[in-house]
Amino acid sequence: MAYMTDRRPWTFYVLAAVFALFVVFLYGPMACIYILSFQGPNGGLTFPLNGTSLYWFGALFHQQRTGDIAGAFARSIPLAIIVLTLTVVFSLAAGLAFRRRFIGAGLIFYIAIASLIVPGLVLSVGTGLGFQLLDIPPRWYSSALGAHLSWTLPFGLLIMFAVFSRLNRSYEEAARDLGATTWQTLRHVVIPIVLPGIIGVALFGFTLSYDEFPRSWLTVGPYNTLPLEIWAMTTNITSPALYALGTVTTAISFVVIVVALTSIALIQSQRTRRRIARERAMQAGS
């Protein structure tokens, strides 16, 4: 705020320090995990590092006693991808619906918020009970999928709300004016404009599912997803293999986020480049 002078007030430095400490607070513990995952084969669960190695990364995938990590990965990732896809489609559709008034809109909104706030454990208990009563065995691709969706859909809906409230309706009216059908308007006008929001929903869908633990608990059936596997390992913490697992799962999350954000950036820059090229062509032609 440059209302008195252009120099920064003393509160800036204090708050900047608080912010910096906060970032250290956020990243510090994770940094320890990353470092400790390179623990030597004879090292323990805390510092100091007893030599460095990739031993524990290997242990993740090869030894039986650390659990079925590879299997858990093979379930978590496809599950997350399915959740991502369904969340995007269902949230987008529901977001479009909420632009107009319809009976039950308020009810559905509050149910979605409630689904967000309810403790995940309670929900998984209920879902597990339900499947048990109907005599359908819970599986990661059915009951767990639904449980994950009950968590990601409200998030997706809220994001779509934010995105659509900023969308200017005159774009669609202009398209309609020029002869586009509803479907064409959706495909060629609305979706390209809200694409960054859709990517955001996809991002949430993937990572929320990938990291979801309480809601998965009674709904995955006999074979664990990754967070459940991690939970099993924490209750018998015996080796730095756990830290290695932490590093690997974080790396995967990170890759997904980078891909999502880069694609948003690419879309924006592609649009800018196309616009500049068109402007140049127009200038050259005139």
């Binding site: 608080v18 454990l121 339900g130």
Partner: protein, 288 residues
């Protein structure tokens, strides 16, 4: 092929998939829990007869009250810490960082850890706070203490640190969002009227961030009250939470008392949330 769908029916079709999923995987499970809470049980499983004794047991044992006290205690402490911390971080990002792109970048920096599983982030505190952990080593090396500090880990302190670590972001994002919407000319008008920086904060910024503060508070409080694993691991088994008792009952396959406990918890959480919501119309803000 053209589908002749009447325009009025379209919103219903669009919202149907989401509504159906929520019906099947939220409404019905909650109904299950509610129904199960009235069932009887024994060592072998559920007996489908109506009984109120789950509730009676629950509400008459003193441990229930202690458990709630413990959980609410944590919820309030964590709420206070995350509110102050989250408010000032959001304030810094919204008002002291001049370039809006940098502000968003710094906010993203804070959100990246969120994408790692909560369990891993929680256990990452163990090598830091333990007897032979980084903090104790540093304190010993600097000579501030002459033996390792015990209460850093497996204590209330550790639980609160872990909660703050995991949940402050849920305060920062809504508050930052509210603050970013405050028209800068309002701040100037306040200065023009004689307000110093502190009074600008109390007279203009805090009132106009009320929505963000409310949303953040709801998130943090419900997350803490709904947690079971942070408290279990970080307190070393010394503390318990309400959901933890649900977890333990379910592990023993005692569904009915677990369900009753869950229902009571939900009622209490709903009361807390509606109390908070009397302050602001959340739906209007969100769909705004």
């Amino acid at each position: 092929m053209k589908l002749a769908v009447p325009a009025k029916a379209v919103p219903y079709l669009e919202v149907a998939p989401l509504a159906i999923v929520l019906l099947l995987f939220f409404v019905i499970p909650m109904a299950m829990v509610f129904v199960a809470s009235f069932f009887d049980y024994n060592m072998t499983g559920i007996i489908k007869t109506f009984t109120l004794h789950n509730y009676i047991d629950l509400l008459t044992t003193p441990t229930t009250f202690d458990l709630y006290l413990e959980t609410v205690k944590f919820a309030l402490i964590v709420w206070a810490v995350t509110l102050v911390l989250g408010f000032f971080v959001a304030y810094f990002l919204a008002f002291h960082v001049r370039n809006p792109l940098i502000a968003i970048g710094l906010l993203l920096l804070c959100t990246v850890p969120f994408w790692t599983s909560n369990i891993i982030r929680m256990i990452s505190w163990i090598p830091l706070l333990g007897k032979y952990g980084v903090f104790n080593r540093a304190l010993l090396a600097l000579g501030i203490v002459d033996k390792p500090v015990q209460w850093l880990l497996f204590s209330d302190f550790a639980v609160i640190v872990a909660y703050v670590h995991l949940f402050t972001l849920f305060m920062i994002v809504p508050i930052f969002n509210s603050m970013a919407r405050i028209d800068k000319s309002l701040v100037e008008a306040a200065v023009d009227g004689g307000a110093n920086r502190f009074r600008v904060m109390t007279e203009v910024i805090i009132p106009l961030s009320k929505t963000g503060i409310t949303l953040g508070s709801i998130f943090v409080i419900t997350l803490v009250m709904g947690d079971f694993f942070v408290v279990k691991i970080m307190s070393g088994g010394r503390s318990a939470s309400v959901v933890m008792s649900v977890f333990e009952d379910v592990n023993l396959l005692f569904y009915p008392p677990a369900a009753a406990s869950a229902v009571v918890l939900l009622i209490i959480v709903t009361l807390i949330v509606s109390f908070i919501l009397r302050v602001v119309d959340v739906r209007k803000e969100l769909t705004g």
